[in-house]
Structures are given as C-alpha cells and as structure tokens.
C-alpha cells in the first residue's frame, strides 16, 4: 500500500490549495465543527474538496473528557456530516473543552485518575455506539498535569482498552509532552497499545522557554520529531499520516515538501516490512 499522507485543510490557504498545483495530499482532514451545518461559499468549497480528496475528520467540541453528559444533538450533526462526506476516520482529543455546559473552545487536560478512566471510557463507548463506528482518540499535549494518580501512558492505555476505541498517535504531542514533563518519548510510545494506532498526527511546535514547548502547529516539523516518527512507523502497521499546520502558514510548496518527507520515511520502512515478511 502506498503511504497515505494528508493535510489539515485550512480556510486560510483554500484559494491556493484549490488550484491544485502547489500541494498534493492523499487526503484532507477537516474539523466537523467548522464545516457542518453550513451553506453558501464554504459549502461549495467543501463539496468541491470532497469530489477531489478523501476526507478524514478531527473533532474539537465533543469534549470526551467533560464531567457532564454527551451532547447528543451535536453528535447527531457530526454523524450526519460523517455520512454525507463518507468520512473514514473520525478522531477526537483525549481532553475536555467544556465544563458545566460552558464551551471553552480549547483542550484542557483531564486528571489522570481511575474514575476519569471509567468515565471517559463510558463516554467513548456511548459515542461509538451512537455513531456506529470506532473513534480514534488522540493523545493531547498538556502543560501541567492535574491531580494525577497514574502516569499518562497508563491513562491512555486503560482508556483504549476499556472503551474499545482506536488511538490517534500524535507524535509531535509525545515529543512536546516528553520535553515539558521530562520523560523519555520512546519509552512512552513503547508502553502504548500500538496495535490500536489507526492514524498519526505530525506537526511543528514553539519553544517558549527553557523548559516549556507550546503545541502551536505554527512551525515546521523539527528533525527530532521526524526521527521519533521514523522510530514509530517501524513499530506499527501502516496508517494514514496527517500534517497539522494551523498558524504561521508558509507557502504550500513548503508544506508539500513536508508531506514528501513523511512519505519518504514511510516508504523506506514499508518496503523493508514487505521484504521481511517475504511478500515481495
């Protein structure tokens, strides 16, 4: 199978992107919140995109870690969107962005506790039952733990196991967290249930002080994150890989170079895997 490398589609680069010359992703990723229940100009763009690229989707507002119940009205709209655009992968963040029914529109860290594991797993199961599909849950970057009773890797692994969800492994987030919380990135990844990885995110970040990186998606991917990625792809089944670039967006040809770098790394190891298994 050819490596599948996609890009998070942004309205900011829509015009150049639609010309189709400067960047050639295999698929695009959209946040359903920004594209569902809309019409007019952007709906036309969406339909055009859907005619040209497979779409995956990465949610922002489900808030799987919220204390309160799931917003079923919202989930109904998401489901409609996933069906309408034949979305193969629907992912969400292992975080909360709403509390006491107030949306914060950003990702906050869930306390790594046993009862949060149970609560979040139950909510993922509920959402999966309703959607009739597995959700890929993403390890998020976080700047401080909150009342942690267990390690992050154990928190994630338990939830994947209990909920039966897939894992979206954000390699940059692992790098960011390993730096911010001083742990070993490879050991961390090695302790996750890698057989459940269904999708990978890659991105750049911004170091704001000696001991803190902010996950801005506003820079190019740095070499140590590529290296970590290469280490990961040798340990998992081939899955789609997505480049996230949300701010400080460069020329699209530059982003296309990043897509090609990712393809090259995946290509290198997919061949090896085929030879090793004798299927050449």
């Amino acid at each position: 199978m050819q490596p599948q490398v996609g890009i998070g589609f942004r309205k900011e680069f829509a015009a150049e992107f639609m010309e189709g010359q400067s960047i050639k992703p295999d698929f695009i990723e959209l946040a359903p919140e920004n594209w569902m229940k809309i019409g007019g100009y952007w709906k036309k763009v969406l339909n055009e995109l859907a005619g040209q690229y497979p779409i995956t989707s990465h949610g922002l507002s489900l808030s799987i870690g919220s204390p309160e119940g799931l917003d079923m009205e919202f989930l109904k709209e998401v489901k409609k969107f996933l069906i309408e655009y034949d979305v193969k992968v629907y992912s969400e963040h292992l975080s909360f962005s709403k509390c006491d029914n107030a949306h914060l529109y950003d990702l906050l860290p869930i306390p790594f506790t046993e009862d949060a594991v149970n609560h979040v797993s139950e909510r993922i199961r509920q959402a999966q039952d309703f959607l009739g599909r597995q959700i890929a849950i993403e390890n998020v970057s976080y700047y401080t733990p909150v009342a942690a009773e267990m390690a992050e890797a154990e928190f994630i692994s338990s939830i994947v196991e209990k909920s039966g969800c897939q894992l979206l492994l954000d390699v940059n987030n692992v790098y960011v967290n390993a730096f911010n919380h001083q742990y070993n990135a490879k050991e961390f990844i090695g302790s996750l249930p890698l057989e459940h990885v269904a999708y990978i995110h890659m991105a750049g970040h911004t170091q704001v002080s000696d001991d803190l990186i902010i996950d801005t998606h506003g820079e190019n991917i740095i070499d140590p994150v590529y290296e970590l990625f290469e280490w990961v792809v040798q340990r998992i089944n081939p899955v789609p890989v997505l480049l996230e670039r949300d701010f400080n967006i460069p020329e699209l040809t530059q982003l296309n170079n990043e897509l090609n770098s990712l393809r090259a790394i995946m290509g290198k190891h997919s061949q090896k895997a085929v030879i090793a298994s004798g299927k050449a």
Binding site: N34, L62, A102, E122, Y143, A147, A148
Partner: protein, 250 residues
C-alpha cells in the same frame, strides 16, 4: 456519572480559571504554567469576536471592548459547539447587560446585530430556492426572491456611516441583507418604509405585484399609480441585478 466529585471539582476549577483568570490552586499542577491555558483559551474567544465584529471592535474604546469580552467569557456559558456561532451569544449578552448604556454607545446593539447577521447569512445552511422563471414582467405576477435574506430595522444607520455619525441620525432605518447565490457574498440595501411594505408582501407570497401596489396606494395615500409602478419596477430591477429578485414564480 462515573466521575467522583473530586475529579469533577478539579476540572471545574481549571475550566473556571480559564474563563475568569482568577487565581487557583490545583493539586499536582505546575502553577506557573496555568496562565498559558488562560491565555490560549481567552485568545480563541477574543480573536473570534474581533473577526466577527471588526467595525464594533474598531469603534468601541479598547478598554471597554476588553471589559465586555472579559465579563462575557467569565459569566456567560457558551453553549454552541461551533465557535463561529459564539459571537451571536456575545451579542445577546451585550444586549442583556446593557453595555450600550454603561458606555454611552447607543448604536452598539445595532452594530453588533448587523455584523452578526453578515456572518450568519454568509455561513448559514442553504435554503431551497423557489421554482421561478427569469422575467421582469412583474405586474400581475407573484415576484420570486432569493430566500437567503433578512429584513431588519435599526435605530442607527450604522450600515451607511460610521457609528459616531450614525448616533446623530436616530430613526427607523430599514435594511435588507441577502446572500448572493454565485459568489456567496452578503449584500445589503437600505429601504424606505414603502419598499419595506412591498417586500414584506412579496415575502408572504400570496399577492401579485399589482395587488400589492393597490394596497400601497391605499395605505400610503399615493395617487399616481403610473409613477409608483415605474419606481417599483426600477427598484425590483436593481435588486434583480444584485441577485435578490429572481423573477416570477413558475
């Protein structure tokens, strides 16, 4: 809920801190990093409001604007999962809290409403167009119009002039906003009461144009039907060229 009160409390504490910025203590947290969360969350809200309301942002004094945003985000629970719709909740909050009185900005509610409608019309789901025939022969026919529109009344003509000038021109200012089909762009047109009357009757869709104009003669005490027909024809022709009037119903 499988969540223990304790875990819930920690989440609530962090979320409230992001909303109001008031100092907290959280077990196990790296306190000096908490402000990053407040900053990131607040920037998203602030940026969304600034881009939804560029004119209001320009004309409200910065200190007052910031006070409104801080007050809103601290005290209002945003219910919409789609962040682009959040500015509508801000508008509602500003009206409810009567910030226009507090800051002596009588035009504020009108301006926020107008700017919000531009966003909403631009983004909202498509509405099915009626079955129509291209024609400018409206008399004796039901006029077909673009269904993606809003007709509103403002107290201050903030669509025509800057808010400071608009303040001196309080009155009844009618405005038609609509989304052009091909470009998706939102256009607006100022209207006199007479044309509001005509359009509202067209929207009801039961009277043919000549019947509507007969009513106009009666209600507005006009004698010259020929002139009224001529003026209405140019009004509708102009709206047709702008993509609002479509033609006649099939």
């Amino acid at each position: 809920m499988l969540l223990k009160t304790e875990t819930y409390q920690h989440q609530k504490t962090l979320a409230e801190y992001c909303r109001n910025g008031k100092e907290i203590t959280l077990p196990g947290a790296i306190t000096e990093r908490l402000p990053h969360y407040r900053r990131l969350v607040f920037n998203i809200v602030n940026d969304s409001l600034e881009s939804a309301f560029p004119i209001a942002f320009k004309y409200v004094e910065r200190v007052h604007w910031n006070e409104m945003v801080v007050d809103f985000f601290s005290n209002h629970k945003c219910t919409d999962p789609q962040v682009w719709r959040m500015p509508f909740e801000f508008y509602g909050y500003v009206v409810e809290k009567e910030f226009h009185e507090k800051y002596s900005l009588p035009w504020l509610n009108d301006l926020l409403y107008f700017e919000w409608l531009e966003v909403e019309l631009y983004m909202m789901e498509d509405i099915q167009y009626p079955l129509y025939k291209d024609s400018e022969n409206w008399l004796g026919k039901l006029v077909a119009v673009n269904p993606e529109h809003k007709l509103i009344k403002l107290k201050y003509p903030i669509h025509k002039m800057n808010p400071k000038k608009a303040k001196e021109n309080k009155g009844d200012h009618f405005l038609l906003l609509f989304r052009q089909k091909d470009s998706g762009k939102v256009q607006f047109v100022g209207l006199s009461t007479l044309y509001v009357f005509i359009l509202e009757n067209i929207f009801i869709g039961t009277k043919k144009l000549d019947e509507i104009l007969n009513d106009v003669l009666y209600f507005f005490g006009i004698n010259d039907m020929e002139l009224l027909q001529k003026n209405t024809h140019s009004f509708l022709t102009d709206l047709k060229s702008k993509g609002f009037v479509l033609g006649i119903y099939k």
